[in-house]
């Protein structure tokens, strides 16, 4: 099946993915705060995070994960639409948002617009 691969080492934080995702899901309307992909930015880290499942409660412990040579607060890179952060929900109604690959078969606009090819569509085993 086709899935989106996010290579954070290639991301430079342009955020066009955020813009085009919002436009794709609401005609003629651009608003990164309603995007189903957001780029987490901290110092020299640019980490695209794609909206995943909704949860109505935060995790009962905060974890840290190591990816490559860096340690991450799990909350930074977690895909959930969660009470703990303002991402992946409509700013006014708080309705949760989730990536839908821009339809079936997958035609993700974020992948199409990513200049650095940090986002790619890849085949993964079922």
């Amino acid at each position: 099946m086709l899935r989106i691969k996010a290579d954070y080492t290639k991301c430079t934080g342009c955020r066009q993915c955020e813009v085009i995702c919002s436009l794709q899901h609401k005609e003629n309307t651009i608003n990164p705060k309603t995007s189903r992909i957001r780029v987490f930015m901290r110092e020299d880290l640019f980490f695209p995070v794609i909206a995943g499942p909704y949860t109505d409660a935060e995790c009962n412990a905060r974890a840290f994960v190591t990816i490559g040579d860096r340690e991450y607060d799990e909350c930074w890179i977690c895909r959930a639409s969660c009470p703990v952060k303002p991402w992946f929900k409509e700013p006014d109604t708080e309705i949760p948002l989730k990536c839908d690959f821009c339809g079936e078969p997958p035609d993700p606009q974020c992948v199409k617009w990513c200049f650095q090819e940090a986002l790619t569509l890849v085949e993964v085993p079922d």
Partner: protein
């Protein structure tokens, strides 16, 4: 309105209040946004002869209909005011994310008036506008200021009882534009920076901000930006994106090396500002130490983008070497050229450190490098001595550049004199002929004896010696879209006018100048504008708007007291033949180009727009 969000925020710092006004759609259409919109407001609202550091000056932040839409590279926030450095129209542009966030908060422009009795920050969080006390931020560097403001946001959300990390995200999404100690202390070279590393640097816009006791503008927005035709917009934007990706410069070398790809090419044409513009070439071994490849192998951490630009030419860097240790964004090419080559320095770590000083204290790196190099030449010629400077100031001394950038930012020691800019410094010491600049704005990295078209641009650009108003390097050095001979004056007037009007458009609609390296045409730009606004933009009315903006800036300067005499170049460029290199023996024959330039512009022999030209552009005579 589409593209535009339709609101202007007018803030009166004297009274401590604000109003929200409607953006006039006709003005928006005729002046495009950004620099164009800013000069229109300034022209209509202030007397161009006022004291730029007084409360009657206005500081305008303006964006465009395209900013925030994800239009490729469209991120600009222009800052416009009367310049305390030049006395002419002052205008500078920040990249980064600030402009887009201002749109999401619901504003196309901010007009700041008056002067606050105490230091304040302007907070714009959607409809919630506040002037908050900023005494605790006064005296802080720009990175400290941003960190403290974000910490305040996190504290505020924690106090509201929200879950752990909510405030962290809000703080991270918040964009900040601030001045450092340089702006606070009215250093005439002061810049405004956003995200700690993108600067509205030239013409002292930070000085105006500091003079108003405005420390920072803080913004976050959750509102949408509408486009007229989403499908047409996507098509227009992707078409541009494809061209950028397919072009070797914009799609490969520029993302990889950033602006530091320049040094070897500039050296080949002999246009470097070596040792305060005394020479046009620099030793090859020295150039090799600072060029893109060496930069990438030494101090570069990774590339960084501005909003909606995939090229990511921003340089996030770190110097490990203890003597010059530091980190931040840049140095960009002009910073390397002025803080380095112009001062005879080829030590990239030291240049980076001087650049970090400028970022932290909020100083224009071009003007800073130029004024330091100027002082080095005055020292070399015995006009100033160790007694004036505090130490022996020599070309090629990396510690001197690091030290003096710091002194400029804090107005300490000799830096207090450098902080006035190179024009005032050379006047003070009785040798104005050593000022390398135009209209009191310090020259950027172009030894125009060997680059005549750029010479004409620098002589006529409305803010003074600003290379990006008419980026003739694209034609005379790089060859995009065509290659011209830099040593010829023939035909340059027409090209300079063309580029100036084209950049007036880019700087107003918010597009990055590097788009001109790939063949991005007027048609592409007009297509974007029309898809987003649906206002009836064509190539013709867009080009006319560019010319209108240029002429309005010119009228501002004329009213401020500038004349044809000010459309000139330093004596060195006009009269001292280039000593060596490809431009050997050359001077910049401005007098061979200027009359034709005036004619093509529709100005009289004194450089004053004729009534016919003004009528064509819909402008009133002075």
């Amino acid at each position: 309105m589409n593209g535009w969000v339709g609101n202007i925020l007018r803030v009166n710092l004297t009274q401590g209040n604000y109003t929200v006004e409607e953006l006039d759609p006709d003005i928006a259409k005729d002046y495009l946004g950004g620099g164009g919109l800013g000069v229109k407001f300034l022209y209509d609202e202030i007397d161009p002869t006022i004291d730029p550091l007084g409360p009657d000056n206005k500081l305008i932040f303006s964006v465009s209909s395209l900013v925030g839409t994800g239009s490729p590279t469209t991120c600009h926030c222009a800052v416009v005011s009367k310049s305390p450095l030049t006395g002419a129209i002052g205008r500078s542009i920040m990249g980064g994310y600030f402009g887009a966030e201002l749109k999401y908060a619901g504003y196309d422009a901010i007009i700041v008036e008056g002067k606050s009795p105490e230091p304040v920050s302007l907070w714009i969080m959607d409809d919630d506008i506040q002037l908050k006390p900023a005494q605790h931020l006064w005296g802080k560097t720009i990175p400290e200021t941003e960190d403290m403001i974000r910490a305040e946001i996190e504290d505020e959300w924690r106090a509201r009882g929200t879950q752990r990390t909510h405030g962290e995200w809000i703080a991270r999404e918040t964009q900040i534009a601030s001045v450092g100690p340089a702006g606070e202390r009215l250093v005439r070279l002061a810049a405004i920076l956003t995200d700690k590393g993108r600067a509205a640097a030239r013409t002292g816009m930070g000085t105006v901000m500091g003079s108003k006791n405005l420390k920072a503008v803080v913004t976050r927005g959750t509102k949408p930006v509408m486009v007229a035709d989403g499908e047409a917009f996507k098509q227009a934007a992707l078409a541009i994106q494809e061209i950028l990706k397919g072009n070797d410069l914009t799609g490969n070398r520029h993302p990889k090396y950033g602006t530091p790809i320049a040094p070897p090419l500039w050296n080949t044409w002999g246009v470097l500002p070596a040792r305060h513009f005394q020479a046009g070439i620099f030793p090859t071994e020295a150039v090799d130490k600072i060029k893109g490849r060496s930069y990438r192998a030494s101090i570069l951490l990774r590339g960084k983008s501005c909003f909606s630009c995939g090229m990511g030419c921003g340089r996030l860097t770190r110097v490990a070497e203890e003597e010059f240790a530091g980190s931040g964004e840049g140095p960009e090419w002009e910073s390397v050229a002025l803080l380095g080559i112009c001062c005879g320095v080829d030590n990239l770590a030291a240049i980076a450190k001087a650049n970090y000083n400028c970022n932290e204290l909020g100083i224009d790196t071009i003007s800073a490098g130029n004024v330091i190099a100027c002082a080095m030449e005055l020292f070399e010629k015995g006009i100033i001595t160790e007694k004036d400077v505090g130490f022996e100031l020599r070309f090629g001394d990396p510690q001197a550049v690091v030290r003096l950038t710091r002194e400029i930012g804090w107005r300490e020691g000799f830096g207090d004199i450098l902080a006035e800019g190179a024009y005032r410094m050379t006047e003070k010491y009785g040798h104005p002929e050593f000022f390398m600049g135009v209209k009191k704005l310090e020259l950027p990295a172009f030894n125009v004896r060997a680059m005549k078209g750029m010479g004409l641009n620098l002589a006529t650009a409305n803010e003074g010696a600003n290379h990006m108003r008419g980026p003739m390097q694209n034609l005379e050095l790089i060859g995009a879209p065509v290659k011209l001979d830099p040593l010829q004056t023939e035909g340059k007037a027409e090209w300079v006018k063309k580029l100036q009007d084209s950049m007036a458009i880019s700087d107003s609609i918010g597009l990055c100048g590097f788009l001109d390296w790939a063949p991005i045409t007027d048609e592409h730009k007009a297509a974007l504008l029309e898809a987003v606004t649906g206002e009836g933009y064509t190539v013709d009315n867009m080009l006319l708007a560019g010319e209108r903006i240029w002429n309005l800036e010119r009228l501002f300067n004329l009213r401020a007291g500038f004349t044809k005499k000010d459309d000139t170049l330093p004596k060195r460029m006009l009269e001292e033949p280039m000593p060596e290199g490809p431009g050997k023996g050359h001077v910049c024959e401005l007098d061979q180009m200027l009359p034709e330039y005036y004619q093509l512009r529709g100005w009289d022999e004194n450089g004053v727009p004729t009534l016919d030209k003004l009528t064509e552009l819909g402008l009133e005579p002075i």
